[in-house]
Symmetry: C2
Subunit: 281 residues, 2 copies
């Protein structure tokens, strides 16, 4: 993967490279039926966990799914999938090959290009823009039913680049029910409206919690705030995902929660969201 | 507040404005004794809550404290302080006057410049760099014992700008105990080492949780991972702050947790960290 950004005197060469990359980006996108960007106003609302679990649920239904991790500074997708030790490969066409999680699910992340997992990526916005374009054009995604894009929290360079480069991407916005999170999610909704990105809907994560010992309800982040916010903003409410500490443990160890807890309320909640997503096919 | 960035043919004028701003930035910084940037690898670890509570604890000890909220896309400081309805003022010298929380504590945030609180700030990196410089040079901070800077999660434009503009800023890194958070915090530590920013130490937030009904321990994010990570990286461990859902409620409603729960373990934990900070004076 060669950086095409950067200064240079030979403008013609630069322009040619740009056009070639534009074509590569368009070529990759043409083969992907549905593109979703998973966004959040605030960090720590479980956006990566939602992205990965939706992807696994769709792949389990037999769809071809890709995850593109554009959270350049906190790329957690490979760890949650349990494939963080692997590196991206390169094929005969000099395209990057995504990490394979299963026959139906593959992923690309900056984490799988860094030799040391603890190194910080210290890049300003324009470099990130260029890398995200390369994650589309220079990757051999193949034919996909769904591409799920895991964006960093907020309304900065990364979601803006996605909105500009993938004009038919739909947004899934993840929030937790407490007010401080909802205040930021309203910014995400307005971001989508401003850049004219379709909003598929809003998911309320970590919604309600009961003590695993005495089973009494614990008011951690509250519940219901996401649904009210969606209603107020006139967007679809996709459902509530209860808080389950086992989701944290599974994310840490890179094991599939849905595999381990097939009949849990969390697995059912993810399944319900993917039903809405598969109505698009 | 006038934007000095942006194109223009009159380079001399641009240079003059740049020099004037460099001087304003240096002038503001000279009057501030200690500068701390509160960072995190991942979002949602309670970074803003830690920043605000440390600031209140220092102000309660009689120090003059300022909070600069450089989380441009998720500016939560005014809401947590309960002063989110107020707007920044301008004084006779055309400098911005920070929001006053109390006699000893004031704050500046992009939130207090936006007419609509739900609007998203959609800026690419270079504009954010310029705004952060203005938050220092164009604000009448006055004489401060402490400036606490609330950075967005990760290692992007905002912390990089702070590292470049405030060369004597020390980093306080906040993490939660689970592995996925620790993986990202190691990136923050390496960021500081790369840009040669002093690390004051690491705080483990949301450390341990017991059911408010049956008082049994609930393994939410685990405990102890922060201390191990600090030890491995050879940096100071500043202490553990237990998880308390009341901190969420207080943050949402903008009331001071430390005022309401004076003898709680959380208040004691914040007090212990500020003792270490006040040894610097």
């Amino acid at each position: 993967m060669e950086m095409i950004a950067g200064g240079g005197c030979d403008m013609n060469k630069h322009k040619k490279a740009q056009t070639a990359q534009d074509e590569a980006v368009a070529g990759s996108l043409k083969k992907i039926k549905n593109k979703f960007i998973v966004m959040s106003g605030k960090g720590g609302v479980g956006k990566t966990s939602v992205t990965v679990n939706l992807a696994i649920a769709l792949a389990n239904k037999g769809y071809k799914v890709g995850i593109m991790d554009v959270d350049i500074h906190g790329p957690d997708v490979p760890r949650v999938l349990g494939i963080n030790k692997e590196m991206l490969g390169v094929n005969a066409d000099k395209k990057l090959t995504p990490l394979a999680y299963s026959r139906n699910l593959s992923a690309v992340s900056i984490e799988s290009l860094s030799a040391s997992k603890d190194d910080a990526i210290i890049w300003r916005g324009p470099v990130k823009h260029s890398v995200i374009r390369q994650f589309i054009g220079d990757v051999e995604w193949g034919d996909l039913d769904y591409l799920l894009i895991d964006a960093p929290p907020g309304t900065g360079d990364e979601p803006l680049t996605v909105a500009q480069v993938i004009s038919d991407a739909k947004a899934i916005i993840v929030t937790t029910p407490q007010e401080i999170s909802l205040a930021d999610v309203r910014k995400s909704i307005n971001f989508c409206k401003t850049v004219k990105m379709n909003i598929f809907g809003l998911i309320e994560n970590m919604s309600g919690f009961s003590c695993p010992h005495c089973h009494q309800a614990i008011d951690m982040f509250g519940t219901g705030g996401g649904e009210r916010t969606a209603k107020d903003a006139g967007i679809n409410f996709l459902g509530r995902i209860p808080f389950d500490p086992k989701l944290v443990t599974c994310g840490d160890s890179g094991t599939s929660y849905q595999e381990a807890y097939k009949d849990s309320p969390v697995t059912t909640a993810f399944d319900n969201v993917t039903k809405l997503m598969s109505e698009l096919i």
